[in-house]
């Protein structure tokens, strides 16, 4: 490591200026704005924790919290398992494997907004080709996004369709970085199949998996576009995720204080999760330097 009186600060200055203005100031603003409320004349008045108290008493807010947590507790492990399975499948070089590797990340090119629109058409109860196929094969049509009981699961599957290939790349790179000798010695010891995967591959994949868990959680935690475009939080609140609630408060009901309070709670939850996740990076930092 080198030392220099000012060079390192000059090098980090532009990035930190950006992070400060566009990340840290908004965080402060959201805490600040959450203790104000607009009165009938349109002035902002200090109201203390009233916005929070209102949220705490609001059953629809608790529903949002519950849906968001359930959504994340299922989708993140699920997506990572799918991504890991894909990575294992395309790991060994063989015929056409490059085609599959490229093909599997193609859903990345469909933006989250387009993914939402396209899948809502594909899964439409009457016009959708998926239900057309189901009926053709002798099954009953499914309501998917139109049903209170299927909407959230469908949302998870659609988000996984888009995301699994992307996270596969990071896991694949981890798999490819495993030295060949380790694999060979495992074979000599007679470890094959699932045993080899659990006792040898998985421990070596700890760091890529930690990275993907962190990045995937950040990507999914506040999923917005599909809720905004497809379900509008429905049916009956089944897909009312936190970010959509904050958006509605800010732009549909123009309740500034409430939206800032929701934003602040979101930031608090995210920060708690991030604190846990920072631990995942710690051992990595130690064995590196």
């Amino acid at each position: 490591m080198f030392r220099h009186p000012w060079a390192p600060y000059a090098f980090i200055a532009p990035a930190f200026l950006g992070l400060f203005v566009f990340r840290f100031i908004p965080i402060g603003l959201s805490g600040f704005g959450s203790v104000f409320s607009e009165n009938l004349r349109g002035d902002m008045v200090f109201v203390g924790l009233k916005n929070y108290a209102e949220l705490m008493e609001d059953p629809s807010f608790w529903n949002t919290m519950r849906v968001t947590l359930i959504f994340n507790l299922i989708i993140n492990p699920f997506q990572i398992c799918c991504a890991l399975a894909l990575a294992m499948l395309v790991r060994r070089p063989s015929r056409f494997i490059d085609v599959f590797r490229l093909g599997f990340i193609m859903p990345m090119t469909v933006s989250i907004a387009l993914t939402s629109i396209i899948w809502s058409i594909l899964l439409d109860p009457t016009l959708g080709p998926v239900n057309g196929l189901l009926r053709w094969a002798g099954f009953q049509s499914q309501p998917f996004f139109r049903s209170e009981h299927q909407a959230l699961q469908t949302l998870m599957l659609v988000a996984t369709w888009k995301g699994a290939g992307y996270w596969m790349i990071f896991l694949l790179s981890g798999l490819l970085a495993i030295p060949k000798e380790i694999d060979d010695s495992a074979l000599i010891d007679g470890a094959t199949g699932i045993r080899k995967f659990i006792s040898i591959t998985l421990p070596l994949m700890k760091r890529p998996l930690a990275f993907v868990l962190v990045a995937d959680t950040a990507a999914n935690f506040l999923l917005f576009a599909p809720v905004y475009i497809i379900t509008n939080g429905g049916p009956n609140g089944a897909t009312q995720l936190l970010m959509f609630e904050a958006y509605q408060a800010a732009f549909a009901y123009i309740n500034h204080g409430r939206s800032m309070a929701i934003s602040t709670i979101i930031l608090g939850v995210v920060l708690v999760i991030a604190m846990f996740e920072l631990r995942l990076f710690k051992p990595a930092g130690e064995d590196q330097s």
Binding site: F11, D98, G103, V110, F170, A218, A274
Partner: protein, 276 residues
């Protein structure tokens, strides 16, 4: 299981997954080439025509390009490419500092960077909008570009790569009298091709994908990016489906370009990116 059998099984799995992942994209592009009144004619009742169009037309594309979609595509390209250029520069500078120097508060600042990428961007969208309104940036390109330039994930990516460059190289350059800026842009950056490519791809696809922030930050038609324009056309015109499928296909095809372009470096890029 014999190796032959397990290999066959593997390919069966590979092909079925590819079918699930690619069919929606195929269906999108194929539908865009159908006459508008054919798009849903075969979709609800499954037949061979559901999958293969018997009538072709490019009408949907000419219709889409005559609407606001042409401008929206250019807006998205401009915003994405500008962010890529600024983002690669700003974040590689910071990654370089963390990889090469020891300085006061380094640990603390690094934790802030990790936190900034663990924090979903959406979580600050609403307060960020308040900030933009205060400084008068709503409805400007700057509002679309500037917040996405500095990013913890990209700093981290560069940092990981720069750490791997042996310090002897820097010592030799210092002996020759090079200053740190010269070392950064004449030595380190030219060595970092694959990392720059990966970072560019990640920034590009992130900005191309962006929907929530552009929706909130810009309200005028003039500044609509492609994702927002498509979503707005859907609701405003009671869905002109032909134009929708054509503009969505265009948005997807443009996003495919960097993926195919970087395909040759694909595995190499990936290895440099996470093996350390």
């Amino acid at each position: 299981m014999s190796p032959r059998l397990s290999e066959t099984l593997r390919y069966i799995l590979l092909v079925s997954i590819a079918v699930i992942l690619l069919t929606p994209i195929y269906w999108l592009i194929m539908s865009s080439l159908r006459p508008a009144d054919h798009i849903f004619r075969f979709s609800g009742n499954f037949s061979i025509e559901t999958l293969i169009p018997f009538a072709f037309t490019l009408d949907n594309y000419s219709q889409a390009l005559q609407s606001n979609v042409g401008r929206a595509l250019l807006n998205s390209l401009f915003v994405s490419l500008t962010t890529v250029i600024c983002g690669v520069f700003v974040n590689s500078l910071a990654g370089f500092a963390f990889a090469v120097f020891d300085f006061r508060f380094k640990k603390l600042l690094f934790v802030l960077i990790l936190l900034s990428f663990m924090m979903p961007f959406e979580s600050i969208v609403i307060p960020l909008y308040t900030l933009m309104r205060t400084i008068g940036w709503t409805d400007t390109y700057a509002a679309l570009i500037m917040p996405e330039v500095a990013g913890g994930l990209i700093i981290f990516l560069f940092y990981q790569f720069f750490r791997g460059i042996p310090r002897e190289i820097y010592e030799a350059a210092r002996m020759d009298g090079a200053n740190w800026w010269q070392i950064y842009y004449k030595m380190t950056m030219p060595l970092s091709g694959p990392t720059i490519a990966t970072a560019s791809l990640m920034i590009f696809i992130h900005q191309w994908d962006a929907f929530f922030w552009p929706l909130v930050a810009t309200s005028s038609e003039r500044l609509a990016v492609i994702q927002v324009a498509i979503a707005r056309n859907m609701t405003m015109e009671q869905a002109n489906w032909g134009a929708f499928f054509a503009s969505a296909s265009l948005a997807v095809l443009v996003a495919m370009v960097p993926f195919f372009w970087l395909q040759r470096h694909y595995v190499k890029i990936v290895i440099t990116n996470a093996d350390r």
